[in-house]
Subunit: 318 residues, 2 copies
Amino acid sequence: MITGEVGAVDVRALEALRAVRSQGGVTRAAAVLHLTPSAVSQHLASLTRQAGVPLTERVGRGLRLTPAGLALADAADDVAVALERARTAVLDAHQAPTGPVRVSAFSSGAELLLPGLLTRLEGSGVEVECTDEDVPLDDFAPLTDRIDVVIAHRPEGELAWSAPGASAGVRVVPLLREPLDVAVPVGHPLELSARADGGVRHADLAGQRWIAVKEGFPVGEVLRAVLAGGPVDGEPPRVVSRINDFHVVLELVAARHGLSLLPRYTCGRHPGVRLLPLLDVRAGRQIDALVRADTAERPVVRRVLSELTALARKLAGA
Amino acid sequence: MITGEVGAVDVRALEALRAVRSQGGVTRAAAVLHLTPSAVSQHLASLTRQAGVPLTERVGRGLRLTPAGLALADAADDVAVALERARTAVLDAHQAPTGPVRVSAFSSGAELLLPGLLTRLEGSGVEVECTDEDVPLDDFAPLTDRIDVVIAHRPEGELAWSAPGASAGVRVVPLLREPLDVAVPVGHPLELSARADGGVRHADLAGQRWIAVKEGFPVGEVLRAVLAGGPVDGEPPRVVSRINDFHVVLELVAARHGLSLLPRYTCGRHPGVRLLPLLDVRAGRQIDALVRADTAERPVVRRVLSELTALARKLAGA
DNA sequence: CAGACGATATAGTAGTACTTCACACTAGGG
DNA sequence: CCCTAGTGTGAAGTACTACTATATCGTCTG
């Protein structure tokens, strides 16, 4: 027997491994687990000792899971799911799903979905605790360690949420697709030309000044893709501002400081701004709910998800 | 919040619940877990407290799982499987399957299969630890808590191993079917009549004296069923002895103390006994390997099982 | 080269998971 | 009938192990 340490693999150690994978480091993993980095490190050491194979490798001053570590983490996902199923099997079976659920959304998604969600769950015993979390694309998945249901958005078509392994064990529940329109101030030449046509075309966008979101944030790539459909009129498009809050963007557009690409349902009500559909380019964002596989087993969470999808269906239909 | 106890369900408590189900009691469960009954009882209490629903109910001076308890135990099976998968994922991945495996068989099955199994695994690094365990039909499944691979037999056709819940979480790997023949001493009238016919018929068995196995043991029911095909010649068949060891039975048959129903492959080599096939009644026993679902995930165990099935195929073909 | 930050190692501590022991209850016999 | 042998359960004690606190080492940044 070469195996230095025999005995059942510890579930908490597996939990630590999962956290390290999703958070990308011992320190942050420790944070979401409410532990000290030392404890997490010891868990990793214990697992590594049992495996005989290194599960982590140093990269810079940080840490990364080896292929073996990733494999074990995947297995750990199944363990977590099975455990949650066990708890659900009886522990919550006899009573209606109730209790606290942490839900987050990026700000415009929060406006769109959270009020309706709260209304639907009023008096149901489900206590939705809301947060707004607007983060770069790659940072959505790790949030699921702290937050049960993460409402996130991404440029449509992209696989996304497929980060190196950070999003393993995270389930993606598609909610709705929201088209992105060109936002122009009332009275803008494009508005007039669009009145006949029903929208604008790629070629119409020549020489405009644009307001985009900050680098790395979800919808930013879409604007770049639309404009890069070919240098418009030979002249490269200019991005004059980078603003994340759509309300600010709307005000800037209304004040004729530039155009922008904005989601239709969320931004369609500003009196000084018209949203003009893009006729020859397909532009949109996909809104998803991100849930960890084990979290998704909790009946309360399932309830919240079903309300969310129902709500989204209604919104997309209207 | 009514939930008195919050916090993750303990895997060891689930393990205890599983053992109580399969062993049918706290004391025996404690034995297979290498714990005291008190510890097991406390685990049950902990789970019950979290569930809010009683998981066990008293019956006589013993104990039985409630439906809720059975449901939770089923979920616990999945947890155990997931954990074993996790361990396998890495811990044993890099090395060929090796190590100790406990295998048991009922005595005649042991004769039939164990020598071949040991030969096939010679020098493979798999250390097969053999035991012979000949127990009543219902007691085979619980053995899987102490023994990795339990080779058992049952009257063919019966679902069997479907005891109240004791066999939940136990996988059945069919090995081979062995016909049961009528054993007669050489020179017996039936032997002569069978020479032309190729076997005996139900009607031929009138008025014979029979040697059966003890009450409750696997093949006993088959003899009863064969003879009960209708009172043979009006006269009810007489069972004069109850012997479990087939070698003893063979000696008794050879010494003309009665006939018996014996498995063909295992008992066909005695010089003083002829085995005559039953022509108009289908009689046989099914030989299976019983393995707990989580145990079956261990690579060494899978190796042993694959060798066993291969060996059985070869035997059935010959 | 400081200095900040990340992971890890060691020693100490607090909690918990078990055992031990004592008890309550049921079943079966003398 | 009581008595014994069996069952599961509860309370107190103990040993362990899972975590924290603290210190150290390595790596990137200004």
